[in-house]
């Protein structure tokens, strides 16, 4: 493991390891499973991914400093496992060049609203799976920042560490992701009969 997070920084007794695992890691298992599911879009893969993540977390527990941000550390391990072990075998369509997208979105020319006319009323009628489908249909990099920010409440700095990207990139990716999500929701709203969604 070349990642800095996995270099042991302290020594724990077996009791301390169990204590950290039970009290600091396990309380996040439901959020971890949801993150795994939203990344893989498959419940069995999500289960395997979460299990692998917790086993890795236990194996490298001495690189975790007791009392620090366990949730962000676990999310980072899960995200890395997903990239290394699952993303390769997934059948996702070929990727666009995100650096290009992000550079474009950092430029002043695109500081505008893509979907200014999506209405709150049309969103309130989305009581089924529309929002979940819209989220799942986003490319995984955009989906991830929405999950981390809006579902899990991580801050820019935490997201930057989890994703290994600069804070400016987190911000621009979130901006782009929100606009893409709104575009999807707007087309759902139109299909539900809101002509001026």
């Amino acid at each position: 493991m070349e990642i800095e997070e996995y270099i042991p920084h302290q020594k724990y007794s077996e009791t301390e390891k169990q204590d950290i695992f039970n009290n600091e890691f396990m309380p996040h298992i439901h959020s971890m499973y949801n993150f795994g599911y939203r990344l893989t879009l498959d419940r069995d893969d999500a289960k395997d991914l979460v299990q692998d993540t917790y086993l890795k977390a236990y194996r490298f527990i001495e690189s975790f400093q007791k009392g620090t941000n366990a949730k962000a550390w676990l999310f980072r391990i899960l995200k890395n496992s997903f990239i290394n072990d699952y993303r390769k075998k997934s059948k996702e369509p070929s990727k666009v060049d995100y650096q290009e997208v992000e550079t474009y979105y950092n430029s002043e020319e695109v500081d505008r609203q893509i979907t200014p006319d999506l209405r709150v009323e049309s969103l309130k009628d989305m009581i089924g799976d529309e929002i979940s489908n819209a989220l799942n249909s986003l490319d995984v990099d955009f989906r991830t920042v929405i999950i981390l920010c809006d579902l899990e409440g991580f801050k820019y700095e935490e997201m930057a560490k989890i994703l290994d990207i600069p804070i400016g990139t987190v911000r621009s990716r979130l901006h782009r992701a929100r606009n893409l999500l709104k575009e999807k929701l707007k087309s759902y709203a139109k299909s539900m009969g809101y002509n001026n969604a």
């Binding site: 396990m26 949801n34 289960k47 086993l55 505008r112 200014p116 969103l123 929002i131 999500l181 929701l185």
Partner: protein
Amino acid sequence: MATSQNPFVQADGKKPTCMEMLQVILDGEATVEQKDYFKTHMDHCMPCYKEYNVDMAIKELLQAKCCGGNCPEGLVEQIRSKINSTTA
């Protein structure tokens, strides 16, 4: 409202756009002062008011529909048993 009182203004003195202020709010990065300023700003900026309400409705919908509930039954036990077998 004077720019000098705008808590969104960065150290370089650049005045933020409406969209930049809204993003700080949506991303959960705003300070109490920034939230208060933006609330007052929305009183006289209809596009911000509308966009804020749509964005917050999406956020609420995401939280209500995409948080996924609990992990599958047995997963916790499976993890514990794998760890016990490797440490035994």
